[in-house]
């Protein structure tokens, strides 16, 4: 059975970081690529692409350098959005217990690996032997 490397990376991050409830990978124009979430993935993808664009413009506007992540914090948890290269967006949702600083630390390698897969530098599908 071929394993989806993108989904495997997203599952692994949800396993590794306590409090992560789901994730989604979307294109910069708001279309869903992969989803591991209970919420509407199409809406999530569209909103995340728009949010990332706005957040990057905000960072430029105030002269604060390159955007690292955009975080929405609500009474019931977090949404963290990361640019994956220039073509995709990774969205992570978490509950109130999420350690957001730890998430940023742990998601860095995941973002890099997903970017490598999307750019073709790494295989997305790994077949069984």
């Amino acid at each position: 059975m071929a394993e989806d490397g993108l989904l495997a990376e997203m599952h692994a991050l949800r396993d590794r970081v306590t409090g992560v409830t789901g994730s989604a990978l979307a294109s910069r124009d708001g279309l869903i690529i992969k989803a591991d979430t209970e919420v509407n993935e199409d809406n999530l993808a569209a909103l995340a692409a728009a949010s990332l664009g706005l957040a990057q413009r905000m960072a430029r506007e105030v002269g604060q350098g390159a955007l690292r992540e955009a975080v929405t914090r609500s009474s019931g948890g977090y949404v963290a959005i990361y640019a994956v290269g220039s073509t995709a967006v990774l969205i992570l949702t978490g509950d109130e217990g999420l350690n957001i600083a730890r998430l940023h630390h742990e998601s860095r390698a995941t973002v890099d690996r997903i970017e490598a897969m999307l750019s073709g530098a790494s295989p997305v599908h790994t077949g069984s032997h």
């Binding site: 394993e3 989904l7 495997a8 599952h11 692994a12 949800r14 396993d15 590794r16 306590t18 409090g19 409830t21 789901g22 591991d36 209970e38 009474s75 019931g76 509950d95 109130e96 217990g97 999420l98 350690n99 730890r102 069984s128 032997h129």
Partner: protein, 306 residues
């Protein structure tokens, strides 16, 4: 005099955490003890007593009070804003506004601290680092709790869970209803219906505790009762540490298991962490066979017409 040793030495917290707590108490620390690990957390000290315990692994008092519906969100937000503006503590503001009684708030804070210590001390502890400073946590136990009492209570809870039939790991096992457990027009009561609705194969007991606004220990107890009654199954395990991941990848390559998180086939041989269990606890496990169909006695028809 406080003791930081568990009563029978079984299932006690890691030596480094126990020693660190003992040091903080002996030095009458005010500040925090930062615990790195999985899930890790922060223990707030005031004069050597524990004012609060925070960990990603257990819901804190704010989550418990809001998610359970005990305090409405607008009321909480107003109290928070008023306390922040006045530079005063949140607890007295909640009480002054009649949102919760002083005794009830203290009970919630104490229960939350005990639950967080149970999760923190039962997890993996890599390092403990004490940082003196001005006591500063949103809802502080007053008077502070004794660290020794919190550890003893954590050990007691670990022993209770270890003595029950079946094992449910509160921070690893993702659970779902067993086939046939959810019956239309049937109410189980005891909060079991809410749990069946939340158990979608993605949530661990810890995740369900957050969603319900209840403690992890209490939620895990309920889940283990339901698991023993055949209402819930474990569909996958979180794979957290590098060692667990290496084991899972080897098993997956051998074709033994489905990938973690897809909620489908139960894993055949994912690694299970073994908590220390005293021999006398293993020998004294009660007869684990549930009276089938014991959960049927709990059924009562839905009232009214929906």
């Amino acid at each position: 005099m406080s003791t930081l040793e568990p009563a029978d030495g079984a299932g006690g917290p890691p030596y480094s955490l126990r020693e660190a707590l003992r040091d903080c108490a002996a030095k009458a620390l005010s500040g925090v003890l930062e615990v790195t690990g999985e899930p890790g957390g922060t223990i707030h000290f005031s004069g050597g007593g524990v004012a609060a315990v925070e960990t990603p692994g257990a819901p804190g008092p704010e989550v418990i009070l809001l998610r359970s519906g005990r305090i409405p969100e607008p009321g909480w937000a107003a109290a928070f804003a008023a306390a922040a503006a006045a530079g005063t503590a949140l607890g007295p503001e909640l009480i002054a506004r009649g949102l919760i009684g002083a005794g009830e708030l203290e009970a919630v804070l104490r229960i939350a601290a005990a639950d967080a210590m149970f999760v923190l001390s039962g997890g993996q502890v890599a390092q403990c680092r004490a940082e003196p400073g001005t006591p500063d946590c949103q809802l502080a136990l007053e008077p502070p709790a004794e660290a020794g009492w919190l550890l003893a209570e954590a050990s007691r809870r670990t022993r209770v869970l270890a003595s029950m039939p079946g094992r449910v790991e509160h921070d690893r096992d993702r659970m779902a209803p067993a086939p046939g457990a959810v019956q239309p027009d049937v109410v189980l009561g005891q909060g079991w219906d809410e749990i069946l609705a939340l158990a979608n194969g993605r949530r661990t007991p810890r995740d369900m505790a957050f969603a319900l606004g209840r403690g992890v220990y209490a939620t895990t107890l309920q889940l283990m009762h339901m698991y023993g009654a055949g209402l819930l199954v474990t569909v996958s395990h979180r794979v957290v540490t590098p060692a667990e991941r290496a084991h899972a990848e080897r098993a997956q390559a051998a074709g033994a298991v489905a990938p973690s998180g897809n909620g489908q086939d139960p894993p055949a041989s994912l690694p299970r962490r073994r908590r220390a269990r005293a021999q006398h606890l293993r020998d004294s496990d009660p007869d684990s066979g549930p009276d089938l169909p014991s959960w049927l006695r709990l059924l009562r028809p839905r009232s009214g017409g929906n």
